[in-house]
Amino acid sequence: MTRTRFLSLLGSYGVVVALLLLILFGWLRYDYFLGFFNITSVLRYNSMFALVALGMCFVIMTGGIDLSVGSTAALGSVVAALFSPQGTWIGLGAGVGAGLCVGLVNAMLVTRLRIMPFIATLATMLAASGTALLLADNQSVSVSYDSGFTTIGQENFLGFPIPAWIALAAYIAGWVVLNFTSTGRGVLAVGGNEDATRMMGLPVGRIKFLVYLASGGLAGLAGVILASQFGAGQPIEGVGWELFAIAAVVVGGTLLTGGVGSVGATLAGVLLLGILFNVLNFENGKGWISLSAYWQSVIRGLFLLIVVILQAKLSSRGNAAARDH
């Protein structure tokens, strides 16, 4: 039991400890690591991933998966760019709306047609990507600089990048929903044991519907930030975002089988993977060893491997513990 407990604590807090150690390492080793410029640029860039990972976290907690988030973000960025001349808020709304549309399709496919989440979202991934390319005519769509749309991605508020504030707000909302609403608890219950949850009288279909919708909306929002930050809607961006998001969620200790998960740890997972890249850049800057930027995916993969094996041990121990009594 104590061993299980230790592993489960490691699952919940391991990522935070690793994140703090990494930051400590960076702070001791590099002069400008905790400099204002570096912090804001890391936050600005990673807030898009953070939003996508938040939606993914909720989907995974129900035991599902959403592979469409990357193309949905691309679609969101294109739609937002197309609507940006109408004003900041309209551009924002259009981008999020496009994401919600994809989320709606996913939700329908998974809950109504009962198609496996993996396949359903794989198909919408293609469809969203195709739609984005069609709308954008195969090239990036410049946003309007006059309407103030670029404020969202490029400006600061109280000294911090606006995207970071948006991500922070989304995470706080996500945390409240997960921990203080019955829908949130239902998300975890569905992932933990769908049949039992149904027998307990919870609306399983509605819960699943909502998570896919939310994931689509958040991916759309990430797309809005993408368009605003880089000044253009990018139909071919977002490739591999879904897997980055899955990795961040898993590194954050959320079980891919569903039922266990944490919003905060997911954020820590995103930051950990993001800062890892940042550290590699600094290391190369020092010129001691030349680790190419490509090491980042190898190291991310290794992280994922360690976490996944730990999780497997934890859940087999959990089962064994339950059986032994």
Binding site: I65, L109, L113, R114, I115, M116, F118, I119, A120, L122, A123, T124, M125, L126, A127, S129, G130, T131, A132, L133, L134, N138, V239, L243, F244, I246, A247, V250, L256, T257, S292, A293, Y294, W295, Q296, S297, V298, I299, R300, G301, L302, L304, L305, V308, I309, Q311, A312, K313, S316
Partner: protein, 332 residues
């Protein structure tokens, strides 16, 4: 409790969903060919055939391995990354970047064997994660999906490797009796796998594991070993496909080789009629599935529909195929 299996002979009744699940893709392929014969200019030419076949080749080779993996009830997301690894490794060997080999034939042979074997070993690693730790296949193979491309990029430092080695590029550009070598390779692999699945003990065991893992284990099948091998084969197929791709391009870019291949392969398998939950697999179906997807795209492009719209259509085809299969199962 009550026995509900008293359904002998109900299989004889005609069920449209069952029929569609079985033959839908083949019918679609035939209809597409007829449509093109009627409306697409220059369709009935050797050149059109070659264009379509060469484009579908690598997808089919990877999809064959994927079919076997899916037949056991698993999935392999790492195939694209493994293609990148073998595609990055082979030029390093035959260009003598690792150990100089003077004889070009020897160098090419070594390059092919080693890089395909390495991809196979990574596949074995996937299988090990899945059978030893009981990690879900989707997660276990995600590890190499992410790390694999990184490994290829690190090996080449992200640089493009260009080369002109006809002895190697034969597998992508050569022809035998006017047939592209890669098409012959594809045909051989398809036939070998189809034969293996139908005629060998190993093939039966794959299907049995996907059909009922408990029953397979109770019948003495070494489930873990079969799974290990299946993922290794998927790795080998990906390794070979990676070589074909770089041979065609005369260059290897670790950032691009095999990108998105896992999705194309899974789509071909699904459209081909292999059950994604395992237990029923058809290699020929996968071939037909891949060709159907390719021909849909070709048809749309040849008739002026943009490539992007073809993606949306592809998505719809995948959903439709899976849905029909599910209905076919529910009715059976």
């Amino acid at each position: 409790m009550t026995d509900t299996s008293q359904t002998a002979h109900t299989g004889k009744r005609f069920d449209p969903f069952d029929f569609l699940a079985r033959y839908g893709t083949l019918i679609a392929l035939v209809l597409l060919i007829l449509f093109n014969l009627a409306f697409t200019r220059n369709f009935a030419t050797i050149q059109t055939l070659n264009v379509n076949l060469t484009q579908v080749c690598t997808i089919v080779i990877v999809a064959v391995g994927m079919t076997l993996v899916i037949a056991t009830g698993g999935i392999d997301l790492s195939v694209g990354s493994l293609m990148a690894i073998s595609g990055a490794l082979a030029p390093m060997i035959f260009l003598g970047k690792i150990i100089p080999i003077d004889n070009v034939y020897l160098a090419v042979a070594a390059a092919m064997v080693v890089s395909i074997a390495v991809a196979g070993l990574f596949g074995l690693f996937n299988g090990w994660l899945i059978s030893a730790f009981r990690i879900q296949p989707i997660v276990a193979t995600l590890v190499l999906f992410i790390a694999g491309r990184g490994i290829a990029q690190v090996m080449t430092n992200g640089n493009l490797q260009t080369f002109r080695v006809p002895q190697f590029q034969f597998i992508g550009l050569g022809r035998v009796l006017g047939i592209p070598v890669q098409v012959i390779l594809m045909a051989l692999i398809v036939l070998a796998a189809a034969w293996m699945l139908k005629r060998t003990v190993f093939g039966r065991q794959i299907i049995a594991i996907g059909g009922n893992e408990r029953a397979a284990e109770l019948s003495g099948i070494a489930v873990a070993k079969v799974k290990l091998l299946v993922y290794a084969i998927s790795g080998l197929c990906a390794g070979l496909a990676g070589l074909v791709v770089i041979a065609i391009n005369s260059s290897s870019d670790a950032n691009l080789v095999g990108l998105g291949m896992e999705l194309d392969a899974i789509a071909a398998v699904a459209v081909g009629g292999t059950l994604l939950s395992g237990g029923k697999a058809t290699i020929i179906g996968t071939l037909i599935g891949a060709m159907t997807i390719q021909l849909v795209r070709y048809t749309l492009l040849a008739n002026g529909v943009p490539d992007a719209a073809a993606l949306v259509v592809k998505a719809a085809i995948i959903i439709l195929a899976v849905w029909i299969q599910q209905q076919g199962r529910a009715h059976a």
